[in-house]
Symmetry: C2
Subunit: 244 residues, 2 copies
DNA sequence: GAGTGGTCTAGACCACTCA
DNA sequence: GAGTGGTCTAGACCACTCC
């Protein structure tokens, strides 16, 4: 199976073999891959070489690992749509999946240099921070940290309890119609806390999206940072759509 | 330096030490990092453990490696703006850098299933493919593969020679005003050819952006796939801006 | 030829999961 | 306690760059 003379690294060859097998659908999403030791026996490679091959699969989002359990074939990517007005819930429902969310915590901080600039408020103004994890089919999908001015939305923390549509709360209680103005896309790696929240290892890249939303009056309403599991989604930006 | 009792992996600790040093600006962009052997001596770690630490730095875009030469500190990320109408050249000039481009090759293929759907043409229609590498300050920045209908733009291949503003050529010679309609963002890993073109190793994630542009009449004009060096840029999507 | 990173092997111990 | 992946060490050889 592995050709040791053609100049192509063994781990390279192995990862291609495994990718082909996964793409052919020999393994179903969620099913367990052969263990490292099994693979090293089967292909007569050292376990570390096998690990290198699997690392690439993990980086490309073909598989995910669970410590003590094994390596599993990942599901297909979700096409997650983003436009001026996007609600996580409708976007996930649109592709026929089951959305869910949980408020991890809410707290207040002083704006500081960076955030005061983003939200266009004073350095010492108070900011409400909301940390929300969103799930698709019970799997953690993304982790959003939202920053809003306390002065503009004083009771937000108690209002948001139980409801996860921030946009709906802002509209209903403050009459504010928040629309996404810009988003920045970067690739990053998870911090320790994100590893637990999103259930991924530090080695898996994440997609980092920073967005600014403004109200009807053109004032900045929300600055939020969302970390997406890179193996779970492609993000589709619609430059026209008003979405919902 | 390295604490072997606190339960944090050594390579983890080392990568944090190195990131802090880079963030403090102890090393300037482009300068060489200590070699693997130097680091393994200095921190009393095995060379492989050091390599694990550096791998993380590479994944996060802090450093890049050149075979046979060494490991070097990467430059700051470029804030690359994308909106309905974006030209690479103006976007890079806007941030005070020096854009450049090179037509790698142009050729024709039959549409096939995938592309005929994207471009909304027939399965057997001919497609013009343009492969362009773009540079920022002489460094490879992204690799774009554009697909356009041969029937609509028969002479495109000869017209594009020497000019890299596809939008300008379409406007001038065909009277078509191409505007970006949607873009899909994914994280991926480079294919072998991209590794050479973008001068990166296979282990470094890339940002994959697939875009559709349409003309005034609403017909699809171009489908393009762009691979960005993940260590070189953040991509900023402007949902309003008409850009240029 | 000396120095760099890239690959491969061998073997060890760990923490975690599951029965 | 057996099996999984996670980490660390030791040592080897390679291709590449630079002098």
């Amino acid at each position: 199976m592995i050709n040791r003379e053609n100049g192509v690294a063994c781990y390279q060859q192995l990862s291609e073999i495994l990718i082909k097998q996964i793409e052919k659908g020999i393994f179903k999403p969620g099913s367990q891959l052969a263990t490292e030791i099994e693979l090293s026996k089967r292909y007569r490679l050292n376990r570390h070489t096998v690990r290198q091959a699997i690392e690439r699969l993990e980086n490309e989002g073909f598989v995910y690992k669970i410590k003590g359990k094994g390596t599993f074939v990942a599901s297909d990517k979700i096409n997650y749509k983003v436009s001026k007005r996007t609600s996580f819930t409708t976007s996930i429902l649109d592709v026929g999946l089951n959305p869910d969310a949980r408020l991890l915590e809410s707290y207040e901080i002083a704006a500081g240099r960076e955030l005061s600039k983003r939200l266009n408020i004073q350095f010492s103004d108070r900011i409400i921070v909301l940390e929300i994890v969103r799930f698709v089919n019970k799997m953690p999908f993304c982790h959003t940290t939202s920053f809003l001015s306390k002065a503009k939305f004083p009771e937000l923390r108690s209002l948001i309890n139980g409801s996860f549509s921030l946009v709906a709360v802002l509209k209903k209680h403050y009459g504010v119609d928040a629309v996404r103005k810009s988003s920045t896309f970067e690739v990053s790696t998870p911090e320790t806390s994100d590893m637990d929240i999103l259930m991924i290892s530090q080695k898996v890249p994440i997609l980092l999206v920073k967005s600014i939303s403004k109200g009807q009056d053109g004032e900045v309403v929300e600055y939020c940072v969302t970390k997406f599991r890179r193996d779970m989604c492609s993000i589709i930006v619609d430059f026209n759509g008003e979405g919902r």
